[in-house]
Subunit: 368 residues, 4 copies
Amino acid sequence: MGGSIYGNHFRISTWGESHGKALGVVIDGCPAGLPLSEEDIQPFMDRRKPGQSAITTQRNEDDKVEILSGVFEGKTTGTPISIIVYNKDHHSTDYSNIANVFRPGHADYTFYKKYGLRDYRGGGRSSARETVARVAAGAVASKILKTLGISVNAYTKSIADIEIDYNNFNLDERNNNIVCMPDAEAAEKSVEFLKQQMADMDSAGGVVECVATNVFAGIGEPVFDKLDAKLAQALMSIGAVKGVEIGEGFNASKLPGSVDNDAFKVDNDVISKTSNHAGGILGGISDGSPIVVRAGIKATPSIAKTQSTANEAGENIDINIKGRHDPVVVPRAVVVVESMVCLTLVDLIFASMTSRMDNIIDFFNNRD
Amino acid sequence: MGGSIYGNHFRISTWGESHGKALGVVIDGCPAGLPLSEEDIQPFMDRRKPGQSAITTQRNEDDKVEILSGVFEGKTTGTPISIIVYNKDHHSTDYSNIANVFRPGHADYTFYKKYGLRDYRGGGRSSARETVARVAAGAVASKILKTLGISVNAYTKSIADIEIDYNNFNLDERNNNIVCMPDAEAAEKSVEFLKQQMADMDSAGGVVECVATNVFAGIGEPVFDKLDAKLAQALMSIGAVKGVEIGEGFNASKLPGSVDNDAFKVDNDVISKTSNHAGGILGGISDGSPIVVRAGIKATPSIAKTQSTANEAGENIDINIKGRHDPVVVPRAVVVVESMVCLTLVDLIFASMTSRMDNIIDFFNNRD
Amino acid sequence: MGGSIYGNHFRISTWGESHGKALGVVIDGCPAGLPLSEEDIQPFMDRRKPGQSAITTQRNEDDKVEILSGVFEGKTTGTPISIIVYNKDHHSTDYSNIANVFRPGHADYTFYKKYGLRDYRGGGRSSARETVARVAAGAVASKILKTLGISVNAYTKSIADIEIDYNNFNLDERNNNIVCMPDAEAAEKSVEFLKQQMADMDSAGGVVECVATNVFAGIGEPVFDKLDAKLAQALMSIGAVKGVEIGEGFNASKLPGSVDNDAFKVDNDVISKTSNHAGGILGGISDGSPIVVRAGIKATPSIAKTQSTANEAGENIDINIKGRHDPVVVPRAVVVVESMVCLTLVDLIFASMTSRMDNIIDFFNNRD
Amino acid sequence: MGGSIYGNHFRISTWGESHGKALGVVIDGCPAGLPLSEEDIQPFMDRRKPGQSAITTQRNEDDKVEILSGVFEGKTTGTPISIIVYNKDHHSTDYSNIANVFRPGHADYTFYKKYGLRDYRGGGRSSARETVARVAAGAVASKILKTLGISVNAYTKSIADIEIDYNNFNLDERNNNIVCMPDAEAAEKSVEFLKQQMADMDSAGGVVECVATNVFAGIGEPVFDKLDAKLAQALMSIGAVKGVEIGEGFNASKLPGSVDNDAFKVDNDVISKTSNHAGGILGGISDGSPIVVRAGIKATPSIAKTQSTANEAGENIDINIKGRHDPVVVPRAVVVVESMVCLTLVDLIFASMTSRMDNIIDFFNNRD
């Protein structure tokens, strides 16, 4: 079985490799009547595209999206939406020296073992470039959520040991610095740190945090398709992510119940929580508080330092990875995390529509 | 959509509530010819059942499994295996006082919002008792894995701040102490700590770690059904789990690439890695090294301490949760984590069988 | 992969063999708040159960259903509904003589080839008794449809060459005769014919027709999960069904477009069709007219006449099938067809709820 | 939920409308190592493309396929294969006169009711042109089957009342006539008949038959994903198909068991059947005999004759459908039926690989 389809109600099918002709996604299950054009999607693509700064790769891609189907007279028709992004800058020759080498920390070896052969050009399907398709679909999901009053925002929480200070938190600031941090000071420190890593021919990781606000209570399908469970799959499926947590996350394992429990309270007949250690999810179902999720991302495995490894011929060798490589993927992962959260929320929001018989009856009575 | 089905090739459908008549699971897709009886499953049930010690609940359940279908003359037939566990000790009256109260840290409120009503007896489907069905299915998955030469073992890595020392690591020791720690010393400290938490009318969380050895390289379906992504869903779907990580996990976000990368080496024509920061998964596919995964578990939300909360009538109230409650769920979650890892591995191992055309041709040529 | 799960939104997982301990079904995705008890299901079971007449088998089963989960205080809770039916009359010894014989027209050989072994007692999972679980789930689906104002009724249209006369059509009559025909005269002829077949140690087939009225226009998910496509799968999945057709069915292949096309007309602002050759489905989507579907069912393969066949030892042998066998399965298949249509309709009605963005917005605005 | 994804192991996701920019398919789960190029697919496209004869439409399309991903150095890589066919000849203006009219026999009304709007250009997604994507995927599935030694061939069995004579059966003849009949005489009569229908401003339907030979015994997943059940879904999902049957099909409802049953026999230790009324499927599982399936196809609904109907404004009107329209879709449906059979077989052949534990053990032992 292939694994390039995600979702049960709002399903995406992604395709494409780093150095193939194009990458794209087919969205099956987008409701009809949503105003949609390339202008809704392009800004998301621009947020993830390479070639933006001193600490990112020089690959020259427009990442210009084109909608091929599913939209008519400016609106979605309810039929599959096919979106394509052509690869402009795919100089395969750059990669010929690593064609039969298993780069440490990369998927070269595992793809080879799984498939018996591999597209060695830029990592093929295991390249971070694969996320182009996720982000294109995520932009559509994000528009659906906005239409329903829901906001989803991701940002860099930390680069290596440098963490944002929530006292300085300013989401707008995220767009002003090249590390996507909502804290100017931490961003500055991070950039300095990353420059040093580059000078040292090394790389760095970090943490991306994502917050979704105004999510209806009641989203998530116990017991296996709980909201947190699907968010965990969604985020862990992003290359380089090694950990996912919700609310307090691993820290919750250290807190006593008396501290970790969020009390409910009633104010003007509205029930809310006095704190949000739970990250907006109880029993795998949204509770109306902000959903808070984090992804821990490892350092870019491509480093200029000499590394020892093996090749397909079964020889122990040394390699020096050349070519363009970000010292950190975290800033570009921000919009990918946001996209995966949007896709998961739309899918589970749609799933939730059949939770209650009375709502179903109303639905069909109210429809014209 | 309901969310009580897990897996694509080896699919389980679980059912049952804390205080219903029974709980159970239907396994669809278990291969024919596997020797199977209740004796294979019961030991897994016994590992998770309550009433075992001073720090666990007094609920008196045999958790005796019965296979109702899918096995004939001691072997699986390839048709659905239905397994049932009857609830013996379900005194609903114990819970009447919380029938219309939203307990902090529990799923009472979210189930109520989602479904418009809820089975308040012991949390209904949101009870940890739901995992009975997961463990029954996990025992079958575990037997399949053993038949293929794969071992999966989970244990408690930490309770609150008390962590095992890998220098003292002894897996057998896990079965000798009531906190399921493979380190006698850490176990003793943990038990002391938990007794204090009980005395303080409070609770604690911890971390469960699971290691799978001898997993073939090549398991995991990029890009959304990667091995790590499905493990993340599987573990996060367990109640009280708030974080999941693979290998170095969140710590990988702090390490430079030069440290986090695992070098490949060749020894006698066999390729392996010199370290395992990756936790046995690269690009979402197993690399032949041990799979290492951890789940961060929050403290039991049911505490004897007075807590403020709200009820269905929209009133602010104080509650004191009475009745039997573990101060920690971590030890009983160990076999649940192990089960979910087994279920995920079997599902993706089966999925991997169609990765290569040459293997498929061989398969049909070799079959009688 | 096992194939015992049906549906995407209202999913059923069935299990059980002819001579196992029990049969059952787990329904995942039934909305909360539906009043439900065994009394809703038992009448469906009674319609399919054996031992009812001179032309049906003498197997003595109560087929008493028991709900094990998912219902609390008389209403569904939104969590999985587990339904069980115990087998009372399972004398395995009756079948020992056919343990290693491949009965003509049965699935003995194919199960053996697929699974390498088989439960030979009464056909195991390939027995018509498997449909017990479908009917139990179908009863729940039927109740949901009734709540939405939709009626589904199946009946025997023909036994061998004896067909009902629509001029005599009376649905109530269906319950008055043992062949489930809505035409007393055709029923009488059929019974005579079947008695003759029994005397001849032979059997017969027939056609079941099913009509669903008041189905909303707009149900069905092009292009693969069209309403007619899923109905075709649903009906063809019933043992002994060899053909499925919608509306004119195969006869449509002989009609010119000018005859087969149904004209639309407007009456008091309501659009309807002047005829219904299409059987209520256009482009795979319901058009508001009655859905009309038929299943062609082969003769019972178990006949008393001597037949030549092979056994597992690879010998050519003669067999005389003894024991209880209906000369026709058609009458008992009626409620099975009805159940599969109900299950398919509920699943696709739920799927249709996300077809239009405006309806989704209204849904979440209208919810409390 | 959208319905444009088919298959569980070899999954296709199709997209595109009659008059959009392009149509295409993404195949997820194609094994790695299959030699594949556009040359494997183009012949299938050519078999279905319009503009071929006096009795087919004049639409001028090359239907030139392009593979965008998933193939590297002439072989599949195991990652998603994206295939695209651009629309050349999409004169939307041709269709403006029917923009708000509900054509009889078409899906205009049902799409409008389902989605609230519709792409009226040539029927949008409900056009027969949608099958371009199915055929492209079917060509890949066909190549996999050939690699496994399996042949699948469809042909026109009848046009209206004109049926092929099996005494004249010659598969090669199928390619020599414009109605795809394997009988020159019947073909000639059919062409004459169709010319008359065109002269009468009317249309015709027919039956397509498909035979798959050398299919391994043991394919099909009881009880819902039986081979016949999935074939029924696959074929009924093709536009204009109103009936599906296997082997004797509806005729089986008229035969006594003594005639319809196929006897097993042993010859030189090989078990086979002495007849094939079952069409190669028993209990939903292939029995090693040829798989025989038929699809009944209605007459083209677009006819030049004046028809009465309704429009979106709710008015009763008369229409004369102009433009290019085949008097029969049957010949072009032949390769579509063949494609859907291939897709279904590959999917279920892959599914069957986990039926037996001994085969699974062998698989992993034999793998390098």
